[in-house]
């Protein structure tokens, strides 16, 4: 009997252990785990040159040195709640026998991590370089921005990694963590990691450890946030060679103070729902119910409106009424406006403003700063009606200067801020000429069309200078 009791106890213990073995769920896949990666397309030098000749960009981009492979990677990252989500990135990879293009794999190429600007288009994909059908002034499909970066960088020997961001393309997240500095930097880092792993496994052209970071508009904020957070959290993995944020709201709270309360900036009725939803999802304390901040009928739609593949033109056209019927996208307050007056009057002490401060990178008024360890150059235009120049680039420059870091801020409206000599002369004159040619459309085209090619040329020149100097 004693043996059988021992037997019984042993069997029961084993069984109990076995039963408890089910335990919790497995940890989710590591950040940057590749879900799928493909070669999505190719562009020859001749095709790129035909494009830049037709658009007039060639005087700034130069003729293409390299053919370009377009690759696409869907990867795992984390959302602001720390949950696993998928996001995707486009990768533009120079190829060819020219040494500047990697010499058929003989030498590794520098990487540009590029952050795109605000888009409402859910299917936005930087690997979709030929898709350039824009419907509505701000509903930019990726083609224009992707082909600009391809011509300016990839065709000149930079590997361009351009994440599409959480919430876009095939991402599993139902919203976009717009202007969330920490969350967007995590997505950018994971996109970069996944891209480098994919290239090392599948591409003849391999990435070097030179890392440049740039981005435009929203992407200017993302680029600076990514630079800051890589130096803070990922220094053992990546070293930023230099960063060149363009036309971005680095002083986010200052930009909203001016662009929300004083004079709504062009695009405000798009930026506000994107930002409000992003911060409500991240912090949960922006409003109790959408009608606290949105006027009727927008309180019914605005929270889940973006990203969407419905064109902005459709959204503002009655009887859809998904956004105020205003093609300048500035009708924030008052009759037919997007937001409630109580939101405006309570803004100064609101949790929304606190969230903006949390995501501000440089501000004098709200005392926000960080110290870049590697070279930075800023670029924009002082007459920008969308992302205002005055509260942003000059303030960042001032904050960095106070910390002992001198940062050029290229202002396309100020010849003295641009590089000296013929190159600076040509860029300044070229920009003024483009504005004149745009005539009465110059304001509407300023942020989205006129500034980007010139700032890309200036920042690329700055990066090439950093590379050449071996800094």
């Amino acid at each position: 009997m004693r043996e059988i009791r021992t037997w019984a106890i042993t069997a029961l213990t084993c069984a109990a252990l076995a039963a408890c073995g089910g335990g919790g769920d497995d940890a989710p896949p590591a950040r940057a785990t590749i879900v799928t990666a493909v070669l999505a397309g190719q562009a020859t030098k001749a095709q790129i040159d035909a494009g830049t000749q037709a658009s007039g960009l060639q005087s700034l981009s130069g003729t293409a040195k390299c053919d370009v492979d377009i690759r696409y990677v869907l990867y795992m990252t984390r959302d602001p709640a720390g949950q696993p989500q998928t996001a995707s990135t486009g990768i533009m990879v120079p190829s060819g026998t020219d040494a500047a293009c990697g010499g058929a794999g003989a030498n590794k190429l520098p990487v540009l991590l590029y952050a795109h600007g605000t888009t409402t288009a859910k299917s936005f994909n930087m690997a979709d370089v030929s898709r350039n059908t824009t419907t509505g002034a701000y509903n930019n499909a990726a083609g224009a921005e992707a082909s600009l970066e391809m011509a300016m960088y990839a065709a000149q020997g930079f590997i361009v990694v351009a994440p599409n961001y959480l919430g876009y393309d095939k991402s599993s997240l139902a919203y976009h963590p717009y202007l969330n500095a920490e969350a967007q930097a995590i997505d950018m880092v994971d996109g970069l990691r996944a891209a480098k792993v994919h290239l090392n496994a599948a591409s003849t052209t391999k990435p070097s450890d030179k890392l440049f970071i740039s981005g435009y508009s929203q992407g200017g904020h993302v680029a600076m946030a990514t630079h800051k957070i890589i130096e803070r959290d990922y220094a053992s993995e990546f070293t930023v060679t230099a960063a060149g944020p363009m036309s971005g709201p680095y002083n986010l709270v200052g930009a909203f103070d001016a662009g929300l309360v004083t004079q709504p900036s062009l695009g405000a009725t798009i930026f506000l729902p994107l930002t409000l939803t992003s911060y409500q999802k991240a912090y949960g304390n922006i409003y109790s119910k959408p009608s606290d901040v949105y006027q009727s009928p927008f309180d019914q739609y605005a929270e889940t409106l973006f990203p969407t593949d419905i064109s902005l033109t459709t959204l503002i056209t009655p009887p859809n009424n998904k956004l105020p019927a205003d093609a300048t996208f500035t009708l924030l307050f008052g009759t037919g406006g997007l937001l409630t007056d109580s939101f405006r009057t309570g803004y100064a002490s609101s949790n929304f403003r606190k969230a903006l401060v949390t995501n501000t990178l440089t501000s004098v008024t709200d005392s926000v700063s960080w110290t870049p360890k590697r070279p930075v150059a800023l670029c924009g235009g002082a007459n920008d009606p969308t992302v205002l120049w005055a509260p942003n680039a000059p303030v960042a420059q001032q904050v960095f200067f106070s910390l002992g870091v001198q940062v050029p801020a290229f202002n396309l409206e100020d010849r003295t801020s641009l590089p000296s000599g013929a190159v600076g002369d040509a860029l300044y004159a070229g920009f003024q000429q483009q504005k004149t040619a745009a005539g009465s459309n110059a304001t509407a085209l300023y942020h989205g069309s006129l500034v980007p090619p010139f700032c890309n040329a200036l920042i690329r020149g700055y990066f090439q200078q950093v590379l050449a100097s071996g800094l």
């Binding site: 043996e3 089910g22 859910k122 599993s172």
Partner: protein, 222 residues
Amino acid sequence: MRNTSFFVAAALAAFAAGAAAQSHSVRIGGTYIDVHSKADPLSGAPVPDARLEVGDASTLTFSYVYKPDDTWAVQLALGIPPKYKAYGRGFLEPFGQIASVKEIAPTLFVDYRFAALAGKWRPYVGAGINYTHFTDLHSTASGNAAGGGPTTLELKDSWGPAVHAGVEYLVDKHWSVVGTISAAKVKSDLTATAITSSGPAAATTTIDFRPVTYTLAVGYTF
């Protein structure tokens, strides 16, 4: 359901036949469930070759055995609901564990015991019916990412035949040790509905679990 009626009838027949030397036993043991699941790629998924595979599980099992004589037995086997993990395969492989589920799976067997071999050993074979009800079914955070948004899962109940074979070692009049291998047909339709940014998206497949279970139990006869 027709199968159920058949087995209940068979069990009652066995009860009636052996009223002379009847006995009752209870058993408790550890069970390892070796799952060999097969499932077609999820139909309706936005990507090709989105497949899943169910992992193995283990649990504590109990059974009640009625022996009308030394040749026949009727056995009802139950267990603490084991937890199964489902893993992505094909396109879904990088997502790792995408779901988990518990099952309540009572199985009723009629056994033929080779009593003629005598001694202390009682090899037996049996056939019966398995009913499986799935519970605590959920998509993991990684499964939600794979689905394109928060995902709810539904698995239909399964009825199927089951067979087993084992050997009982009679330690004394009351105690015994029993080892059993069993297999059952457990097949269920899975519906996964993800709330994506563009609305609900459902994908379906049928999972054939094909479990083989190994049990070591201690029995007490009274």
